[in-house]
Amino acid sequence: MSLGKDIPHDSSYTHVTGASNFIDDRPLTHKEVYVGVLGSPITCGVIEEIDFTDVLKLPGVLAGYTNKDLKSNVWGTIVKEQPILAFEKVMYRGEPIALIAVESEEIILEALKLIKVKSKESKAILLLDEAITNKDFIYQATPFTQGNFSEAIKKAPHKIKDYFECGGQEHFYLENHASLAYPLEQGQIEVHSSSQHPTETQHVVAEALGLSYHQVVCVVKRMGGAFGGKESQAAPLAAMAAVVAQNLNRPARLILTKDQDMEITGKRHPFKNFYEVGFDDNGKILAFKAELFANAGSYTDLTSSILERAMFHLDGAYFLENVEINGTAVRTNLPSNTAFRGFGGPQGNMTIEVAIEKMAMVLNKDALEIRTLNCYGEGKRNKTPYGQVIGYNPLPTLFTSLIDQSNYIKRRVAINKFNKESKTKVRGLSLTATKFGIAFTARFLNQGNALVNVHVDGTVQVSTGATEMGQGVNTKISQVVAHAFGIDAVDVNMMPTSTEKNHNTSPTAASSGSDINCAAADIACQAIVRNLKIVATRYFANEKFDDLHEYIIDESTNTDSIQLQDGQVSCSKTNKTETFSKICQIAYLNRISLGEYGFFKTENIGFDKNKGIGTPFNYFTNGVAATEVEIDRFTGECKVLKTDILMDLGRRINPGIDYGQVSGAFIQGMGWVTQESLFTDAEGVLKTHSPTTYKIPNIQDTPREFNINFIENHENTQAIHRSKAVGEPPFVLGISCFTAIYDALRCYNSSMNKDLDCRLTSPATNEKILMTMYGNN
């Protein structure tokens, strides 16, 4: 049995020995060149001329390219509006405008400085507020409504009208964007790309080069982290490498530096969300209205879907009887913001969690009381603002269990005592939840295919559209395949993702990589298993096969007595057993196919964008987290003392991999709300473009005590082997660090006899915390 087993990541051996091959680890091939990318020197305006005269004199520089060298210079996942190389109009500082092909990587920086650019700058819009006033909207979503907000708010005993702001976030995958294009025969191109979406990369490369899709293959062996940052934005970079390869007929390698990567590529969308909430003395939410504004940056990219996911997750874990949710995305002169783990969900969800903190300030209550009071119910109070009814709902159980496991009540008392006594520190505690919708909200993306090839020695090669970025999707697929054939997972090899084997695939995103690709692989496996069982039935019945007789696949064959387990194929009727490999050989000798292509689509989902109503999600993944923080009263420095997480991940395919997903997502979420601060100056120059200035959490920032547990849940029939998607949902739990800081501020204000109310924007850096404590924010 390989399902449910804590087997190591399928690349772990090569990872720990340094033998894993990433794109820039590929050996240089004959005549290979490097590609340098020149970014726009202005934030907004017109590029009038790009002059390569000087740079071409530098030894080792072979050629320069601009938009004119592309057959098509436009791409865009949702709206085709984004140039690959901007020319007349540039939209942000650092936007790629030209390429150079050089013989040595070491001269790229020096060479780029020699390109002369003539440009005319015009006024840039950098701030979200400015863009809202300016009304340059990229997208306005259809509102979600339920009940009657305007009636309910009138009757509410308490009302808060405020806004919540959160910042962007750099993905900070360790492997920077990388592409390597090999020119093949007859103008064909093979491109290796650090892409979560090989199919889109294939398409964008083909279009940029004036080729048909069947002339381009995109291969993805693995990525050194992606987190959404390589979903759409890998494609234009691959096209840049490919256009050089095509023009020079030489392999071309494009590896961004971290600085360039951060300057060029988009980030998590900052949001400013206005809200109005009406509630009673107990903290029951009677009416809620939200107006979300997403900062899209320069182009649409994936913004409309991200905005909608923010709206889908505004409710968080809480039932909103009378609600209205509006969403607008605005354009600014920043890199085009893009997918990032959670895809807008955290920005929506955080709004209501913060609103609850404000309600706690008004009522001077522990916010947890408000959370449990408003939590979605089982069988009642279970309809979302967009009309989807929540089926099986473990949220109430999760809340109750974690309150108990984390010793919440006792700790609350201890914290109150500590805050009264300490002159130098103040502590806060918060317990928040995640209810994350699983499925692409664009229904057509919920499909996948897999190719399963069984060899005559009983080992298996599997190819799917899933891309491995560290999340362990390949390990899970290999476990599902091994389970289907009753063999060991080491006998299943996951092959590099390639568009020649799996085409029309969806990005590995929306936490759905495992759900979709495991299911597609399983469908392929079941077809082969069916064949093998028929072969085994005939073989165990001593049916003859030779050059004159052979087994045929008769679908009516009763194979109920055949079992595939532990590398053996056995028959309960005849009590005979044979090895899996032997049965495979017999199948082969009888000219029976040992390869299958499986196709899967997620059933019973669909959302009407024009009405704002429907069933966008296949199911929800839920979890809760309790976090305690300690703040220095003099410096605003914040430490996370303890976090307890309780997740429902259904029946886990690989507990160890899921544990790592929860831990990693939580810390990423914690970083987003506490310390990851993007700073763009008034000219539109990103000042935080490397780890010296952009601080993702390091090992010392992790909670002093960090516990992750799971509940048993075998009820999720919606996903492969009753598992649940895990990638994004725990990211949302990082918000508990932010709300714990809010809680500490409430305690601080109370201890200083100040007005309890205050407003904190995310990320809650030391500076913001301190300035809020001193009322200077």
Binding site: Y173, S663, I699, L770, N776
Partner: protein, 483 residues
Amino acid sequence: MRNYILFYINGKRHEIYGEMAFRPLSTFLRKDLGLTGTKIVCSEGDCGACTVLNAGLNDIENGKLRYHTINSCIKYLHLCDLKHFITIEGIKDKNLLTPVQSSMIEHHGSQCGFCTPGFICTLSSMSDDCVLDKKLITEKKVKNYTTGNLCRCTGYKPIINAGMNIDLKNYKTLSQRYHDSSMIEDFEKHSQVPVELTGVNKRLFIPTSENDAAKYLSDKSNQCKIEAGGTDLGVVQNKCHGMIIDVLSFDLIKNNNKITKKDNSFEIGPRATWSEIEKALSKDFPEFYKLIHVFASPQIKNAGTLVGNIANASPIGDGIPFLLVGNASLELTSLQGKRMVSVDKFYKAYKQMDMEADEFISKLIIPIPSKNTLTKLYKISLRKDLDISAVTFAGSFVLENNKLSNIKIAYGGVGPTVLRLKEVEQALENSPFELASFEKILPLVEKEISPLSDHRGSKEYRHLIAKNLMLKCFHELSSEVRS
């Protein structure tokens, strides 16, 4: 004279000539040797993906090399003379995984794998140290060793689990496995011979004596930069190019990394690394030790020097405020001889020092404070560890009969250089040790500093922090005094 750099990688000998010496070690490993396990992410020594282990003649213990981690992306080959490097490819013991590697596999310490080689190297250095020092692995140790390794996938918890569960009983130290007395002899033989090497428009001189160094500096035609650990110049070279042209390195001057305690003071050689200083000063300077602990990663502290930090003259140099209030002084050497200058008088304006072009810092002297001296050091940054400060603070007070005297207060990050707050000091002199004394001088703090706004903090925030640190200092000192 020798015209090449000598080092070993995974036990194999390499001689490096000419222009080749002016490339980062990581590039040499990846592009020339095809050892692509070492990864490059930030090229500024801030992420740890390029971590390798190294040891040289200063790291011999019981006749064997003791290995430390460094960032290979900012370590240029001209600074690699007489070192043995172990890369991720050299970690496996023949064909077997080490307990470090198998623990990382078993505990899912690796997801995407890009940071993993760096973590393996770091945890290997921890395991070597634990076995050699007969210490057990603790959670704190795992965290302290891996502070300089960023991981974006795991949230570190699985790595902590992996680190805690390394089977030390079956761990063979790299020190033992790579022991090769002929290599050490090779280093010793070469250490007697100065290096002079030229590349395309580039030059390197590694003298074996202070006198030769002084002579080289006195020749005005040499526009050289003195390079110590290269933890700053390596970054500048990677990001700006063309900075490393004419280099003078002190690597072959014997005993210049020595730290000696005499007459109530410590004398620190110019090539003493932060790690060596951290170890030597832990007992006598607990506050400075705490600061060193958070200010940089082990990789940086194993390469960078305190004297380099002083000579770099950054207004946010983390070591400087303490030296200013701690009466530290510098010995400057040139062909004309030696002279002493107090660190307090050393900085004249932004990046301007009381040091002539032909002088170099040959020694740092830090007196051990008297028993009744109270010291407090603070470093305020966005991230607690390994972050450039927004504001730094150093306060030194003599407390007698509940009265404060000999007061020295220094701040970094609030002006063009690290500043002493003379008016504040005067106003506090002879004040009673109570909150009111500190509250009273806050307007003076505000007056004496002139911070700017940047991505590390606004002007207003720095003003507020500067004032609050005086109060924090009082509260913490008074609780220390009470206990």
